[in-house]
Symmetry: C2
């Protein structure tokens, strides 16, 4: 097994990504919901039918695509029509099986419909551009974390190939779910992200005390429990069910 | 005086920007220095002579310019050749005097030459794109904070117009500096950012303890003392020296 797939290294990276996700959510939460940026047509954009937030995400992804962000196996675009990279491809073998799994449509939907109304004050503060910039950071951080399920799944597959080959051959999704989940790891994760959110979201300014956290710590743990962990495991299962297919 | 210029509100916004700056620095510090992205030509880009980091910043600013980021009086671009906004101008009167002050060249230089080598481990980890994304966040956060000096200066001007009119008429930079600086506020600021950096940069993962902070707290206080505060005051002085000029 390559160093890139050692489960301990992968866990370390997922743990570091918790900071990225929590920082991004705290940054977004300083602005109100600003619902018009998610409504197609609410902010008229020449030659574009969608919402302002979708326009901004798409334009940002075009820039990132040109510098080959999405040729990396741990990066996934939300847009489908992106320009080709202007840089030559990287010559690094991917540690995971070739695949086209991308659950970003689900991530975008749950972020806008479920997560944003929980972390933002309702209403409109007019900071549309700033909110859209923060949204891109949140979506990219969530997408990266959830699609890391591919790496986790590959590492677990390699660590116990006979078991996983049997479960995959049987198309046994429930068996895969049982093999992949680790209740003790998940419990520690939920405690840890709540502690992180409490620490990073507290008010440290004695001159302007505010009683509330910037994002409620329990809420961050809930986001992981309700959406981030289940979606990651979905990616793991989809990846494994495709794992024995052709390698190119 | 408008609500936007109440000194207490401005201070509150500067204090909130400390989080944005510290989060951005912590995010950048997870990657190594990656010097090639700052060297023109080290990463060949078709039709572009500059460095990868400058290319990426410029392309990102083009996207932000099209959604009129830089029509806001508290936003300042690093690039000069940017496309026109595709959105109509915002119809909000600016609370500050019209001006074209922009110290972003100095901010970019000190960020790359002085700040990056202090916050990043030396060497190359290959995460060029991720580093460039973090750089944009750091540069934009620093730029916003430092150019907020215009708002601070306008608020102080309006609060004691006779004194400032006299200092400006005398072109008395030293007198302006003395009037603008507040040693007690600065001392509290340095203590506060060090406390914030210690809190946000600490390791909260009991499974993988690391002795070091993600970014040394004392270092963040030093960045403020050596560069962020002095540059903000420079902006304040330049703004005031131009303050009595034509209003359009």
């Amino acid at each position: 097994m390559t160093q890139a797939l050692k489960l301990e290294n992968l866990r370390g990276r997922l743990i570091r990504q918790e900071e990225t996700i929590i920082f991004a959510l705290i940054e977004r939460a300083q602005f109100r919901l600003n619902a018009p940026i998610y409504e197609p047509g609410a902010i008229p954009l020449p030659g574009y039918d969608g919402s302002f937030a979708d326009y901004f995400l798409h334009e940002t992804e075009k820039v990132h695509a040109r510098v080959r962000r999405y040729t990396s196996p741990d990066e996934h675009a939300f847009s489908s029509d992106l320009p080709a990279p202007i840089l030559p491809p990287m010559d690094i073998p991917s540690p995971i099986h070739p695949n086209t799994i991308n659950v970003n449509d689900r991530i975008r939907e749950l972020y806008r419909d479920d997560i944003l109304p929980l972390i933002c004050q309702p209403g409109d503060c007019g900071n549309y551009g700033s909110s859209a910039v923060c949204d891109v950071a949140c979506l990219q951080a969530l997408s990266k974390r959830i699609h890391y399920g591919k790496y986790i799944a590959e590492a677990k597959f390699q660590a116990d190939e006979p078991t996983y080959r049997r479960l995959i051959a049987d198309r046994d999704s429930d068996g895969l779910l049982a093999a992949l989940r680790d209740a003790a790891v998940e419990a520690r994760l939920l405690q840890r992200v709540e502690r992180k959110a409490a620490t990073y979201g507290q008010d440290l300014d004695a001159e302007h005390p505010t009683p509330a956290y910037k994002v409620a710590p329990k809420l961050v743990a809930d986001l992981y429990a309700r959406w981030i962990i289940p979606l990651t495991i979905d990616v793991e299962i989809i990846y494994l069910l495709e794992r024995l297919g052709p390698s190119a």
